[in-house]
C-alpha cells in the first residue's frame, strides 16, 4: 500500500511537470523547483539517512541552475536550516549543499554565456547570410533587364519586401540629366500601418520569396499610386543650401535622421509630405558621380533604424547606381539608333521596320494605313543660295512642322536629304489629307531665312499620299506615294497629291 503523502506528491509531480509549461519562464522555473522540493520532502520522510543529503543537494543544484546567485543562496540556507532542524547540521551535509550550490551556479553561468555568445554569432551569421542571398538575387535580377523602370522596381522591392531587407517604405530620388536637381522618381510603401499590414498579408498568402517575386515580370509595377504621385511632385535643387540629401551625397555615406531638423528644407518636406519622423538616407553613387538617393523609414512598425541595417542597403545602392547608369546609356543608344541626328525625327531604319510592321497589322486587322512622302521644293537652290548650314536649319524647321502636325500614334521620319515621310496608321483618307495640307500650308507660311530668294518667292513643299490596300506590298505602297509626289512636282510644286485606287487626284 502506497502511503497517502506519496500519492499526493505523485500527483503534484505529475501535474507540476505539465502545468509549468503554461506559465511564463520565471514561474515555470519556480514551479519545477517547488515540485522537486515536495518530492525531496516526501522521500526524506521515509528516513533515507545520508541519501537525504544527496536529495537536498539535488534541490540546491536545480534552484541554483534555475535562479543563479539568489537561487543558490536561498536554497542553501533553506536546506541547511531544514537539515539543522531535523538533526543537526554537520560539516558533510553543509559541504554537499555548498558544492551543489556552486555547481548549479557554474552550470547556470556557463549556460547563459553559451546562450549569449551563440545567440550573437548565430544572429550575425544569419543576417550576413540573408543579406548575401538578397544581394545575389538582386544581382541576377538586375542583369535580366535594361529598363530603368523595372530596375528601380527590383531595387525598391528588395529594400521594402519582408523577404528582402524589410524596411516599411523606400523612396528613390534620381539626379536629373543636368545634374542640378534631385527628382522624386518612384517609391514603394504604404502611407498607413493598415495599408502596410494588408499588403504584407497579401504577399504572405502568396508564399513567395524575393526571387519568385522578382521573377514575376507582370507584377513588376508600382502599386502605391498615392505615394508616387506625392513623390513625383518633389524636386530638390542640389546646389542650393546645405540640406540632408546634399550632405549624404557629398560625404558619400548613409545618414540616419532620428530627430527632425525643421530648418533643413528637405527634412521638413519629407516630414510634411510623407509624415516621416525618423528616416535614413543612402546615397547612390557611380564612380564618384551622384546618381540619386534612397530614403527608407519604418512608418508601419516603427522599428528604430540602426546603421547595421542601413549598411545592408549600401551594396544594393551601389549595384543599382551602376545598373541605372548602364540602363540610361542603353536607352540613349537605342534612341539614337532610330533617330535622325539632325532633325530628331525617326530615321530611315526605323521607317522601313515600322512600315513593314504597320502594313502587316493593317492587313491583319483590315485597318487603314496612310503614307506621306514630302520633298522640299527647289532645295538645291536654297542650299546654293544660303549655304549648307542654313539648309540644315531649314531641314530642322520643316522637321519641327511635320513633328508638330503628325503626332499621337503617327510616325514622322526623315527619309534622307530633303525628303520626309510620315506613317499614319488608323488615319482615314480625309484625316490624312487634312494633315498633309496642314503641313504644306505651315511650311509655306513659315518665315524661313531668306525664303524670298526661292524661285517662287517662298519655301514650299510637295507631298505625295498613298493608302494601303489589302494584298499590297510595302514597295507598292511606297511607289504609289512616290509617283504622287512626282506628280505634285510636275504640277507646279507646293501641293498635295493623292494616289487613290489607281488614279491620281490633287
Amino acid at each position: 500500500m502506497i502511503p497517502l503523502e506519496f500519492a499526493i506528491t505523485f500527483l503534484i509531480v505529475l501535474a507540476g511537470s505539465l502545468v509549468r509549461f503554461y506559465l511564463s519562464p520565471f514561474w515555470n522555473r519556480l514551479l519545477l523547483c517547488l515540485v522537486l522540493f515536495a518530492m525531496v520532502e516526501a522521500i526524506s520522510q521515509s528516513g533515507f539517512g545520508e541519501l537525504e543529503v544527496i536529495l537536498y543537494g539535488l534541490f540546491v543544484l536545480l534552484v541554483s541552475y534555475s535562479f543563479s546567485m539568489y537561487g543558490a543562496l536561498a536554497s542553501v540556507i533553506l536546506m541547511a536550516a531544514l537539515t539543522y532542524v531535523k538533526g543537526g547540521l554537520g560539516v558533510y551535509p553543509m559541504a554537499v549543499l555548498v558544492f551543489a550550490g556552486v555547481s548549479g551556479l557554474l552550470f547556470h553561468q556557463q549556460k547563459q554565456r553559451k546562450l549569449a555568445s551563440d545567440g550573437v554569432w548565430l544572429m550575425q551569421l544569419y543576417k550576413q547570410s540573408r543579406h548575401l542571398s538578397i544581394l545575389k538575387e538582386i544581382s541576377i535580377a538586375i542583369q535580366s533587364t535594361m529598363e530603368v523602370g523595372k530596375l528601380l522596381h527590383i531595387i525598391l522591392t528588395a529594400i521594402t519586401a519582408g523577404y528582402g531587407l524589410g524596411f516599411n517604405r523606400a523612396l528613390l530620388f534620381l539626379v536629373d540629366d543636368k545634374g542640378s536637381n534631385l527628382q522624386g522618381a518612384v517609391g514603394i510603401g504604404s502611407m498607413t500601418k493598415e495599408q502596410g499590414i494588408s499588403t504584407w498579408n497579401n504577399v504572405v498568402s502568396r508564399r513567395m520569396n524575393l526571387g519568385d517575386f522578382i521573377a514575376l515580370m507582370e507584377d513588376a509595377q508600382f502599386r502605391d499610386i498615392d505615394l508616387i504621385k506625392l513623390l513625383r511632385d518633389i524636386e530638390i535643387p542640389l546646389n542650393s543650401g546645405n540640406h540632408i540629401f546634399h550632405q549624404a551625397l557629398t560625404e558619400k555615406k548613409p545618414i540616419i535622421v532620428r530627430e527632425l531638423d525643421w530648418s533643413d528644407t528637405v527634412q521638413r518636406q519629407l516630414a510634411e509630405t510623407f509624415q516621416m519622423t525618423s528616416f535614413a538616407i543612402v546615397p547612390m553613387l557611380n564612380q564618384g558621380n551622384m546618381v540619386g538617393v534612397i530614403v527608407v523609414d519604418n512608418n508601419v512598425n516603427h522599428q528604430p533604424l540602426e546603421m547595421e541595417e542601413i549598411d545592408s542597403i549600401v551594396p544594393l545602392a551601389a549595384q543599382a547606381s551602376v545598373a541605372i547608369e548602364n540602363s540610361r546609356l542603353y536607352e540613349r543608344s537605342q534612341r539614337m539608333s532610330i533617330t535622325d541626328g539632325l532633325t530628331g525625327l525617326y530615321n530611315q531604319r526605323f521607317y522601313q521596320d515600322k512600315l513593314q510592321e504597320l502594313a502587316q497589322q493593317s492587313e491583319r486587322n483590315d485597318s487603314p494605313l496612310s503614307l506621306m512622302i514630302a520633298d522640299i521644293d527647289f532645295f538645291k537652290h536654297y542650299n546654293d543660295t544660303n549655304g549648307h548650314l542654313e539648309g540644315n536649319n531649314t531641314l530642322i524647321g520643316v522637321a519641327k512642322i511635320i513633328a508638330n502636325t503628325v503626332s499621337g500614334p503617327h510616325f514622322p521620319c526623315r527619309f534622307g536629304g530633303e525628303e520626309f515621310v510620315a506613317l499614319l496608321p488608323g488615319a482615314t483618307q480625309e484625316a490624312t489629307l487634312a494633315i498633309a495640307e496642314k503641313i504644306r500650308s505651315a511650311v509655306e507660311q513659315h518665315p524661313f531665312h531668306n525664303r524670298e530668294a526661292q524661285p517662287s518667292g517662298k519655301l514650299t513643299i510637295c507631298i505625295g499620299v498613298a493608302f494601303y490596300r489589302a494584298g499590297m506590298s510595302v514597295q507598292q505602297l511606297q511607289d504609289l506615294a512616290d509617283s504622287a509626289l512626282y506628280e505634285a512636282k510636275r504640277n507646279g510644286k507646293n501641293r498635295v497629291i493623292v494616289h487613290e485606287e489607281g488614279a491620281i487626284r490633287p
Partner: protein, 164 residues
C-alpha cells in the same frame, strides 16, 4: 519497503518529466496557443505565414548532386531548443539526411524571423504582448503541417530553375 518503492517511483516520475520536457512543452504550447487564439477570435489555421526569411546554408540555385538528387523524404525539419530542462523553441533547421547517420544543414529559420502579419496587427493593436506573439509563432512552427510545408519550400527552392 513500500516507501522505498514509492520513493523510487516518485524520483523516476520526476526524471521522466525532465527527460520529456520538450514533449510536455510542445503539448502544452499547442493547447495553450489554440485556446488563446480562439479567445482572440481566430484559429491557428487562420494564421497566414511564409518562410521568406529562411536562410539557406547552400548556394541557391545549387548544382551539388547530393542535394539536387535527394528525394523529398530525405529532408527533415528539426526543432532547436535553448535548454533541455526549460525548453523554448529557438528555430527550425531543415536537414538533409545523407544516410549512415550523416545529416547536412540546408536551411534555418530562427523564431525571431518568423513574423506573421496577423500577429503583427494584433501586437500593434495592443491585443497581444510580445511573449504571446512568440508563443503562437513557436506553436505554429512546431506543427507537423508547418514543418512539412517548410520541407516542401526548401525542396522547391533547391529545384527552382529560374536562373538556369
Amino acid at each position: 519497503m513500500n516507501s522505498m518503492i514509492a520513493s523510487g517511483c516518485l524520483l523516476g516520475l520526476f526524471l521522466i518529466g525532465l527527460f520529456f520536457s520538450k514533449a510536455g512543452y510542445k503539448l502544452i504550447l499547442n493547447l495553450s496557443s489554440s485556446k488563446k487564439m480562439l479567445r482572440l477570435g481566430y484559429k491557428l489555421e487562420d494564421v497566414k505565414f511564409s518562410f521568406d526569411r529562411m536562410v539557406y546554408t547552400v548556394s541557391l540555385p545549387t548544382n551539388q548532386p547530393d542535394i539536387m538528387q535527394a528525394k523529398k523524404e530525405q529532408f527533415l525539419a528539426a526543432e532547436e531548443f535553448g535548454s533541455m530542462i526549460y525548453p523554448q523553441l529557438s528555430g527550425i533547421r531543415v536537414l538533409l539526411n545523407a544516410g549512415h547517420g550523416n545529416t547536412q544543414l540546408i536551411a534555418y529559420l530562427p523564431i525571431e524571423q518568423f513574423r506573421l502579419p496577423l500577429l503583427d496587427q494584433l501586437l500593434l493593436d495592443g491585443k497581444i504582448k510580445a511573449e504571446l506573439y512568440r508563443q503562437i509563432c513557436a506553436c505554429i512552427l512546431i506543427l507537423p503541417s508547418t514543418k512539412n510545408e517548410m520541407i516542401g519550400e526548401v525542396y522547391k527552392q533547391i529545384h527552382n530553375k529560374r536562373f538556369s
